[in-house]
């Protein structure tokens, strides 16, 4: 602790002596961050929720093709419409990474060699559909970054093809959806950031009264956010739906660090010249704020570890960890030098030193309070501070009853935990009225299902073209389609039968001959590089539980139908892998929370080398873990994968309030003639107000999330706003009684030890 204080005091001394150099360093780092931010990539949809695994990688490389579909509604058989479809088809066929383009114009052209001017001739080939789809299929194994330009090309080709008026043309499909969603995520991140900054400005303006340059923390935290963008760009952490939630959180947290530094500096300036004020302020507040930042980082670390490699959660945790460190850094590099320069410009502190010298020899008014407070301090604490002081004294005087009530609520919360709903379908994370999503749903209706009802199974084995293997596929299809939820199946066997008059050839060479007759683009969907692919069609609109059952049925049916030796059949593809992964994240939430508590406990123990000080700040946070379930039940907020990490996060974030109150308590309780109850009251009145202000500011930052168009983020916003408010309540109401009880316990242990040692000294009596 002493080393930590010195380190921060030394940093303060440096910044104080070199404010311009420090600011130049901050500006230089903004430039560096700009370079990093340019390298950020965006990943959306299921891909963000699927961890890398060999089967999925093999599937992606061989069979996973994104598609951009053009949904045409209206007079499809009108010659001008068919000509436009043909123009679109031919232009898209030339685009890089496009494997094939399937359109009705292909069939018309195959029949006549051109697109005829007669509607009757066209209808003779394609019938009289009201809707048709032009499907642009990409090469397999493209990343989202690589497939997105195809969407751009499709949009241009749609304009260029000049569809007649009266025909509705919509671009949809997985690649198109991913591109549109990516744009929405970027817009939403920017909007949330802007909103959070706006709300913070309002909060600081009204709550951070009496402090000069009170909006400066916003500038500092904004620079911290720029640094974070740079860091994730350099580290290759992509931006995803969940990552965009980090920035309002960061602004909330980062503002807190800046506010604490700012407030303490102002306090020190009242009695010291700037030269001493900054090292004193940073030496005093730096250590508790840094341990609080470490705790918050560890809370996110727990999320990272328990994310089981699910990318979106890992990215969320990594971005948050970078963000905490960098907003802390920006508070030092941006806020402090500007405050120093401002103090110099105003000539602050000169009066302070005169006052100090005049009062020499008398009782020095100590800026940090103490038992006797000056009138100025009384005024500064204000009515709210005094109220908090009295409140903390009251709860500390009735420690057992207060903690019992907290415990009962905690147990109620644990009981309510099982009844909470869950949000695990990644399509429910996005706005349900998002035009791109509505288009995709319409496309699915028209085509009898989209990618989401078509699930993939990868077959590996020595001889996948053997007639015996094909016969097994048929048997498997019959077994599986008899089961609930499985609507149908497309296997290499169904392909071979389709091209062989409904029969499976008797010999391997017979199968090969049939496959040679199948067009390459169609065959590639079933056989590729020694692997085979089965499409299992599920019911539309399955809920999460049904989907999990469906996957289990598909896999167990494969085993039940006794596959040939050496053949391995596994459900894969992003939709089949993402949902189980998200469900497991939700089910593991207690582990995540437990890990968060453990990490923060170990960090506090290592820092304080005292069991009492490592346990005390965590007790209120553990209460909050239970209470938050009651809050969620009351507002019917379902547990999303993001909410599942909230327990660990709230421990990390809330620890800041409890650490700051506890540090102040121990400062006071060490003073002569100050009882524990006095210390609690002083801590409550002096820092209770400060943490309430910073807590309210944080709540404002988080509240930006409630306005997100993404339901998962909006729910998370409501959740975090409630949880931060609960951590504040817990820090003020349950920490004081915890400190009193742990203090008594510590006294009792000391007394026993003294008895054991047969010391003449009598046990220290609890002085509360």
């Amino acid at each position: 602790m002493r080393r930590s204080r010195r380190l921060f005091a030394r940093i303060g001394q440096f910044v104080q002596a070199n404010p311009v150099k420090t600011l130049l360093l901050a500006v230089l780092l903004i430039g560096v961050a700009g370079v990093g931010a340019g390298q950020i990539v965006s990943v959306t949809g299921d891909r963000a929720f699927v961890a890398e695994e060999p089967t999925l990688d093999t599937f992606n490389e061989n069979f996973d093709r994104d598609s951009v579909a053009l949904l045409v509604r209206g007079d499809v058989t009108e010659p001008s419409t068919m000509q436009a479809i043909d123009r679109y088809d031919r232009r898209m066929s030339e685009v890089e990474d496009v494997q094939t383009v399937n359109s009705p114009a292909d069939r018309v052209r195959a029949e006549y060699g051109y697109i005829p001017e007669s509607e009757a001739k066209i209808e003779a080939v394609v019938g009289t559909p009201e809707t048709t789809v032009v499907n642009v299929v990409t090469e397999p194994g493209l990343t989202q970054e690589e497939s997105r330009p195809i969407y751009g090309e499709a949009t241009e080709a749609k304009q260029w093809a000049q569809f007649p008026s009266g025909v509705s043309v919509t671009i949809t499909g997985s690649a198109a959806f991913s591109a549109q969603l990516s744009t929405l995520i970027q817009q939403s991140t920017q909007q949330l950031l802007g909103l959070a900054v706006g709300l913070m400005t309002v909060a600081l303006f009204f709550l951070f009264r009496g402090v000069r340059l009170r909006l400066l923390p916003i500038v500092a935290v904004f620079v911290g956010v720029i640094y974070t963008f740079g860091a994730i760009g350099f580290a290759g952490v992509p931006n995803s739906t969940l990552t965009s939630a980090v920035f309002p959180i960061l602004i909330g947290l980062g503002i807190d660090y800046s506010v604490q530094f700012h407030e303490r500096y102002e306090e020190e300036l009242e009695t010291h010249p700037p030269k001493q004020a900054l090292p004193l302020a940073l030496g005093g507040i730096g250590p508790p704020v840094s341990i609080a930042a470490v705790s918050a980082t560890l809370g996110f670390g727990a999320t990272w570890i328990s994310a089981n490699g699910t990318p979106a959660f890992v990215w969320f945790a990594q971005t948050s960890m970078f963000g905490i460190a960098l907003t802390f850094l920006s508070a030092i590099l941006v806020l402090l030098p500007i405050l120093t320069l401002y103090a110099r410009w105003r000539g602050d502190g000169e009066t302070a030193s005169v006052v100090a010298s005049e009062t020499e020899g008398q009782e020095r008014p100590i800026s940090d309070g103490g038992k006797q407070m000056s009138t100025a301090e009384e005024a500064e604490i204000g009515r709210f501070g005094r109220l908090l002081g009295r409140l903390t004294r009251f709860v500390a005087s009735h420690p057992v009853s207060v903690l019992l009530v907290a415990l009962v609520l905690f147990s109620g919360g644990l009981a309510a935990s099982d009844d909470l709903g869950t949000l695990a379908d990644s399509e429910e994370f996005i706005p349900q009225d998002l035009p791109a999503y509505v288009d995709l749903q319409q496309f699915r209706t028209v085509t009898g299902g989209g990618t989401d009802v078509r699930y993939d199974m990868l077959l590996t084995g020595p001889d996948l073209r053997d007639p015996e293997t094909l016969r097994w596929m048929e048997q498997y299809r019959q077994v599986a389609t008899d089961k609930p939820l499985v609507e149908g199946m497309e296997t290499p066997a169904t392909l071979v039968k389709e091209y062989n008059g409904g029969e499976i050839p008797a010999t391997r060479s017979g199968v090969e001959r049939v496959l040679e007759r199948v067009p390459e683009s169609e065959r590639a969907n079933y056989y590729s590089n020694g692997y085979a692919h089965i499409t299992v069609i599920g019911q539309q609109n399955m809920n999460t539980e049904q989907l999990l059952d469906f996957i289990a049925v598909a896999e167990s049916s494969a085993e039940l139908s006794r596959p040939p030796a050496g053949l391995d059949a596994e459900m894969t593809g992003q939709p089949a892998v993402a949902t189980p992964s998200i469900v497991s994240q939700i089910e593991n939430r207690n582990t995540t929370t437990g890990l968060g508590v453990l990490f923060v406990f170990v960090a506090l123990l290592l820092y304080y080398r005292s069991l009492l000080r490592a346990v005390a700040p965590l007790v209120p946070m553990i209460f909050v873990i239970g209470w938050q379930n009651l809050y969620m039940a009351a507002l019917s907020i379902p547990v999303s994968p993001l909410g599942a990490s909230l327990g660990a996060m709230s421990v990390g974030i809330g620890a800041e309030y409890t650490i700051i109150v506890m540090e102040r308590y121990f400062e006071e309780v060490g003073e002569p003639d100050v009882s524990r109850l006095d210390a609690v009251e002083i801590a409550g009145s002096r820092v209770g107000k400060a943490i309430s202000v910073s807590g309210m500011t944080t709540v404002f930052g988080f509240s930006a999330l409630t306005l997100s168009p993404f339901p998962i983020l909006a729910d998370f916003g409501f959740l975090t706003v409630g949880v931060i408010a609960l951590t504040l309540v817990a820090a003020i109401l349950t920490l004081p009684p915890t400190l009193i009880i742990l203090g008594r316990l510590s006294d009792a242990i000391d007394t026993k030890v003294m008895h054991y040692r047969n010391s003449d000294t009598k046990g220290v009596r609890a002085d509360d």
Binding site: M1, R5, R6, I366, E668, E671
Partner: protein
């Protein structure tokens, strides 16, 4: 030679600073003495580097108690002894105290800092010697 009425003794709790107090007691028996402890915001002072609780308050209390002990060494009817505790870089604080308290002579221990700190930061006594316009006695 000008008469020496007021002597400043920077006191940081080190043995050298105690010797400086003893020196003043024997060499300037009639002069008024100001005992000054400068608490460095980073390093504290030789008698206090840090501990539990509020650092600044504790450092101030420790300095006051150390100065009170030294006061008893110097106290007799012929002179006035004042004690001052200031937060600030030692050399600068001593320099301002010389002006503020109208000091005629400074008596300072040779060094309170040791080892690496002395190499990095330099000697307070040396800085004071260069900075003040009154005679300085360095006691080893």
């Amino acid at each position: 030679m000008t008469e020496i009425d007021r002597v400043l003794v920077p006191f940081d709790g080190s043995t050298q600073s105690e010797r400086a107090v003893e020196y003043v007691d024997s060499v300037f028996p009639a002069a008024d003495v100001t005992l000054l402890t400068a608490i460095d915001p980073v390093d504290g002072f030789a008698g206090y580097e840090g501990g539990e609780g509020n650092w600044e308050r504790q450092a101030t209390r420790k300095a006051e108690s150390l100065l009170a002990e030294q006061e008893t060494v110097l106290n007799d009817d012929d002179r006035a002894v004042a004690t001052v505790v200031e937060i600030g870089a030692p050399a600068e604080t001593i320099q301002s105290a010389v002006t503020d308290h109208d000091i005629d002579h400074v008596v300072i221990g040779s060094h309170g800092r040791s080892g690496l700190q002395r190499i990095l930061v330099g000697s307070v006594a040396e800085s004071v010697t260069r900075a003040v316009s009154v005679p300085v006695t360095i006691v080893r």
